[in-house]
């Protein structure tokens, strides 16, 4: 026992089956559109999860760097190539400006690291010994003593090079002891020690000329003070011309989210275009279907089908195409989204954080959004042909062969 909906659905399914190649191609368009929207959505969501996971929480950090010409917006300025430096005098001025908060000067360079048969250049972060606990935690071992040949090794580098606390490595051609292995920290705007070696200022200056600092990190424990601290530093240095750049992590994250939003809209646009093409294809199929069935529509009208019922019958056809296309598209995009995310995570973000493997609520949201758009596009494409069918003059339609 089935009602009007049941018999109209029977009509729709049988008619689509009668022209299965045509119907299949129209539904395939929806599959592509849904898959494009949902896959790109899943990819974007997982990347943001991945990114958030590997970004260390350094919201209490203000970073002061020498101003570069590139930062003024002119990337062709040759001065961009010259890394500026912050002197001890600059450090004093920063310390005066930030008041009670701790200013940590940092210099970063690179040295050749050798361990057993492995060797390669690694970043070396130079910190005053007293400043190390301010920024970093030692997971295994201890801080290096003020003097002596000891260094700290970042967690991911230690893992990859097979280094443990108490072990030995060759750094810059010199045999050194690994005092400790650092806790994994993730990427941040101040320093990225996970794949680096951290040495004390004393160790470095014992072997190289005194460097200029390439950044000063200020720990502003009261987050409400961040704007005031930034303003104070700007006041000290940038009154006449730009001498330093002052950034906090919120700014960087904001920039990331803005970029993410722009990319999301762009990707959604690509999916939208795919769906638009699919919609035109369904519109075409439905117009052909209505034209082929003029006579049948006339018969239905003559035996008592109302205009709205004829309209419904054709909308059901569009609905069946949309449901079939959206379901397949949803399934395809779920698999494709996870596969593409895994692939991007393994290539672009290799070694950082945990790769999201599931969909997550946002991913499911993307799939549902894609399916919703697919279904909506199908129905919308079906409206005009269905309306056209319902407005046919029954006598004209009956005469049509």
């Amino acid at each position: 026992m089935k009602g009007v909906a049941g018999i109209f659905l029977t009509f729709a399914v049988r008619n689509l089956r009668r022209h299965w190649v045509r119907s299949g191609l129209a539904a395939f368009g929806i599959v592509i559109g849904v898959a494009a929207i949902a896959t790109l959505g899943i990819l974007s969501n997982n990347l943001i999860v991945l990114f958030s996971g590997i970004v260390a929480d350094v919201s209490d950090t203000v970073v002061v760097t020498p101003h570069l010409a590139a930062a003024s917006g002119d990337p062709f300025d040759p001065r961009s190539a010259l890394a500026g430096g912050l002197t001890e005098r600059d450090l004093d001025r920063i310390e005066r400006a930030v008041g009670p908060y701790r200013a940590v000067p940092i210099f970063q360079t690179a040295e050749l690291l050798e361990k057993s048969r492995k060797k390669g250049y690694v970043p070396v972060i130079v910190l005053h010994r007293d400043d190390i606990p301010v920024l970093l935690d030692v997971e295994d071992g201890a801080l290096p003593p003020p003097s002596g040949k000891s260094v700290l090794v970042g967690s991911l580098l230690a893992e990859e090079a097979g280094v443990r606390a108490g072990g030995r490595i060759t750094l810059g051609g010199e045999d050194v002891r690994v005092a400790g292995v650092l806790e994994e920290r993730g990427m941040a705007i101040d320093i990225n020690p996970d794949y680096a070696v951290v040495v004390t200022h004393g160790w470095y200056t014992g072997r190289h000329p005194e460097p200029a600092y390439d950044r000063v990190v200020v720990k502003v424990t009261d987050l409400g003070d961040i704007p005031a601290v930034k303003e104070a530093i700007e006041d000290q240095f940038n009154r006449r011309k730009e001498v330093v750049d002052v950034q906090d992590s919120r700014e960087v994250l904001e920039l990331f989210y803005q970029t993410y939003d722009a990319i999301s809209i762009f990707l959604l646009g690509i999916g939208g275009v795919a769906l638009l093409v699919a919609g035109v294809s369904i519109l075409n199929v439905m117009i052909i279907s209505v034209t082929e069935r003029f006579h049948e529509i006339g018969v239905m009208r003559s035996i008592g089908a109302r205009r709205t019922e004829v309209m419904r019958m054709f909308l059901y056809e569009a609905l069946v195409l949309g449901v079939a296309g959206s379901l397949v598209g949803g399934a395809v995009s779920t698999l494709a989204g996870m596969a593409v995310t895994a692939s991007v995570a393994e290539t672009v973000f290799a070694g950082y954080g945990t790769v999201p493997t599931g969909l997550g609520p946002e991913g499911i949201g993307s799939v549902l959004l894609g399916m919703g758009f697919g279904l909506g596009t199908s129905l919308l494409s079906g409206v005009y042909p269905a309306w056209k069918a319902s407005r046919l003059d029954p006598i004209e339609a009956l005469r049509y062969e």
């Binding site: 026992m1 018999i7 008619n15 008592g304 089908a305 109302r306």
Partner: protein
């Protein structure tokens, strides 16, 4: 004895089709009354207005002028939905080309008008009795129209026309596509339906077929001759 009820009444009805080449007068000031239970044959040459007359009675069209009442309702004043309801509930159509819906099987074709009327389907006893009454064997009930002979298709079409128990049956050349013997079978069926009280208006060219009717209406150039 009760007075016979006038079920269809044309009063000065004209139907004009405006065409770019000039207006075509399909019906020209027609007056006609058909009583309930009558069997009327509408005859006339091609272009005489037979089909227009049938379409007007079937509520597929409305008069350009004059009044056409069906079961007491002036169809010129009804909306498209009201006309459809009148057609669905009180009028059954039988076509020369049978016009079964190819996507549906025999049972589904027969029950389709009832689904539209009662919003439910399922072939009950009445539906099976009807198929039996028109002489369609049960093994054909699940066949699609393309799998049936012309005579079998017309029997299904008659069952479909009768499923909503209409008072009026409209038949447009019902035997036009059938051989003589099958045609006679169909006419016997229509005669039987008429004896059961259905009002039948049948368009035909064939005088032998018209002989089954109680009354003949001749149309020439849109007028009753």
């Amino acid at each position: 004895m009760n007075e016979p009820e006038t079920i269809i009444r044309f009063v000065d009805v004209s139907k004009i089709y405006p065409l770019p080449a000039g207006d075509v007068v399909a019906l020209d000031h027609v007056d006609l009354e058909i009583e309930a239970g009558e069997f009327v044959a509408v005859m006339g040459p091609s272009g005489s207005g037979k089909s227009t007359l049938l379409n007007l009675i079937g509520c597929l069209d409305t008069p350009s002028s004059g009044t056409l009442s069906i079961k007491g309702k002036d169809i010129g004043t009804l909306s498209d939905d009201d006309l459809t309801r009148l057609r669905r509930d009180h009028i059954g159509f039988i076509f020369q080309q049978f016009n079964l819906i190819p996507l549906l099987d025999v049972i589904e074709n027969v029950e389709f008008p009832r689904v539209l009327k009662e919003r439910r389907s399922g072939c009950d006893e009445a539906c099976l009795e009807l198929l039996d009454a028109v002489g369609l064997e049960p093994e054909l009930h699940t066949h699609r129209p393309a799998e049936l002979s012309g005579g079998q298709q017309q029997r299904v079409a008659i069952a479909r026309a009768l499923i909503n128990e209409p008072e009026i049956l409209l038949a447009d050349e019902p035997t036009g596509n059938l051989d003589t013997k099958t045609g006679e079978g169909i006419m016997d069926l229509l005669t039987q339906m008429n004896r059961r009280g259905k009002t039948i208006i049948m368009v035909t060219h064939d005088t032998n077929i018209a002989a089954y009717a109680h009354r003949r209406v001749h149309l020439v150039d849109g007028r009753i001759a």
